[in-house]
């Protein structure tokens, strides 16, 4: 059953059109246009406060834009039943795990609440996903007892159980030490290759971006400065882009 349910939902494209968002009188996104293809790893990179998280929330309908739109597979995300028609998943920056539920309950939540399969199949699938992310035997622990890296992997497992067509990661490597950051990066890449899924990763981590991206969009102050493959970006003539890419601790 679980094998059959995999890949039932093929990856889809995500299109952002003239997206503008203000909080109060402050405009945070000044008209964003992006064209994200099905099945690619698309990284949105930029300094803190440039509006990456806000943009990501728009992609899954957690925020409503002031103008512009987000199209999933050509359909506006603002339509009522989008989360029923398309399987989208988001890995939150701090995990967003429900603290009152165990790891296993968190990972299986989508399936239990929507009653997509019998409990024993859910248990099996949850164990399978946890193992795949190196979390064997953590089923009955509470989220508060986990380290930051483990929380993030649980959050990724929870997203994968949805069998998503698009998976959004918000700063998957922030607050992690470099070693675990690399593992998570590899994980994201591997999951994208093994499952038919569009991966959109928001990060300010240059190494991660260049390590996993098929294409990168560089965001600065609520605008997209440049979009391209890692190679294209490195050869960019835009001054801001070069500044962000080459900033370093060498004095």
């Amino acid at each position: 059953m679980s094998q059959a349910s995999q890949n039932q939902h093929p990856s889809v494209s995500v299109e952002v059109k003239g997206l503008r968002k203000s909080f109060g009188s402050v405009e945070v996104l000044h008209g964003i246009d992006l064209n994200i293809k099905a099945r690619e790893v698309f990284v949105i990179m930029g300094p803190s406060g440039s509006g990456k998280s806000v943009l990501l929330k728009h992609l899954i309908g957690l925020e409503t834009p002031n103008s512009g739109d987000v199209l999933i597979d050509g359909h506006s995300i603002q339509a009522e039943d989008m989360l029923e028609r398309y399987r989208l998943a988001m890995v939150f920056q701090s995990g967003g795990l429900l603290n009152s539920l165990t790891v296993a309950e968190n990972v299986g939540l989508y399936l239990t609440e929507h009653r997509l399969m019998p409990q024993k199949d859910i248990d099996r699938l949850v164990t399978e996903k946890l193992e795949a992310l190196g979390l064997k035997g953590q089923e009955n622990r509470m989220p508060e007892a986990l380290s930051g890296g483990m929380k993030k992997r649980v959050a990724i497992a929870r997203a994968l159980v949805i069998d998503p067509q698009v998976i959004l990661y918000d700063e998957p490597t922030s607050e992690l030490d470099p070693l675990i950051a690399v593992t998570i990066g590899q994980e994201i890449k591997r999951l994208n290759q093994e499952n038919d899924v569009t991966s959109i990763v928001v990060t300010h981590d240059r190494d991660l971006a260049f390590g996993i991206a098929d294409r990168i969009a560089l965001m600065y102050d609520g605008k997209v400065l440049e979009v391209g493959t890692p190679k294209e970006l490195q050869q960019s003539k835009n001054e801001q882009v070069q500044k962000f890419l080459n900033a370093s601790f060498k004095f």
Partner: protein, 248 residues
């Protein structure tokens, strides 16, 4: 403030619409019920014992002096079941349970758990608000029945053992029985049911619109409890007026 009231009415309406989902959420509802009982039963017992007691203490000697000692049971009985038990239990539950609801939902909001629910296409109203509002609406009237009986006992104890009153148990309860009707108890229960829904909606709403980190949670909790108590006291008057109209 008017915006808050509007939002709360909308939340109330959505919760009513979600009622058909109750069967699916029954386990969470029972969890909540159990928690409410566990957290408030002992406190309710102590509180109502003393409320009944102090009522008897305040009215008893005055009435004995004027030769009305036969009416103490009725006075205490009526005030406890129509007014004091519903209001005091509602205040207790607002402080004890409403605050916890606001804090729990508020922290879920701040730590993006609610956003996570939404991305999983799980409606926070079905998942969080419905079981809590239903549980509190069932629990408070039950608690009030219990509080009424304990309150009557408290009044009886003071009426019998206080030297300035010293009437018999029989005279206290005979009078209570002849004055207090089933309708009076029902009056208290209707009130407490309305108070309970108010507390549930006010506190869940406050939790859901928490912003600004841990400090925001603290602010939400305070606001939830204060607003609940204010609403309880205002509604107490309004509902009493309406029930009088219906002769209850």
């Amino acid at each position: 403030m008017f915006q808050d009231i509007g939002e709360m009415l909308i939340l109330f309406w959505r919760t009513l619409q979600a009622l058909p989902q109750l069967w699916r959420q029954r386990l969470k509802m029972f969890d909540q019920l159990f928690e409410i009982g566990n957290a408030s039963l002992l406190m309710a017992c102590i509180l109502s014992l003393f409320i009944g007691g102090v009522l008897a203490l305040q009215t008893g000697p005055v009435m004995v002096e004027r030769g009305l000692s036969g009416l103490i049971g009725g006075i205490v009985g009526l005030s406890v079941c129509k007014e004091l038990a519903p209001v005091m239990m509602a205040v207790l539950i607002a402080g004890r349970i409403g605050s916890a609801m606001a804090a729990e939902i508020g922290s879920m909001r701040v730590y993006q758990e609610i956003d996570a629910l939404k991305t999983m296409n799980i409606n926070p109203i079905h998942y969080l608000v419905l079981p809590r509002v239903v549980a509190i609406s069932l629990a408070l009237p039950m608690l009030v029945i219990f509080a009424i009986m304990v309150g009557w006992m408290g009044g009886a104890l003071v009426s019998v053992f206080n030297n300035d009153i010293s009437i018999s148990f029989a005279s206290y309860f005979n009078n209570l029985r002849s004055v207090v009707e089933l309708g009076d108890v029902l009056n208290g229960l209707i009130k407490s049911f309305i108070f309970a829904m108010t507390i549930g909606i006010v506190c869940c709403h406050q939790g859901l619109c928490t912003i600004g980190g841990p400090r925001g949670i603290g602010r939400s909790v305070t606001k939830a409890v204060v607003n609940s108590i204010v609403m309880i006291l205002i509604l107490d008057y309004v509902v009493t007026r309406v029930l009088l109209y219906f002769d209850l």
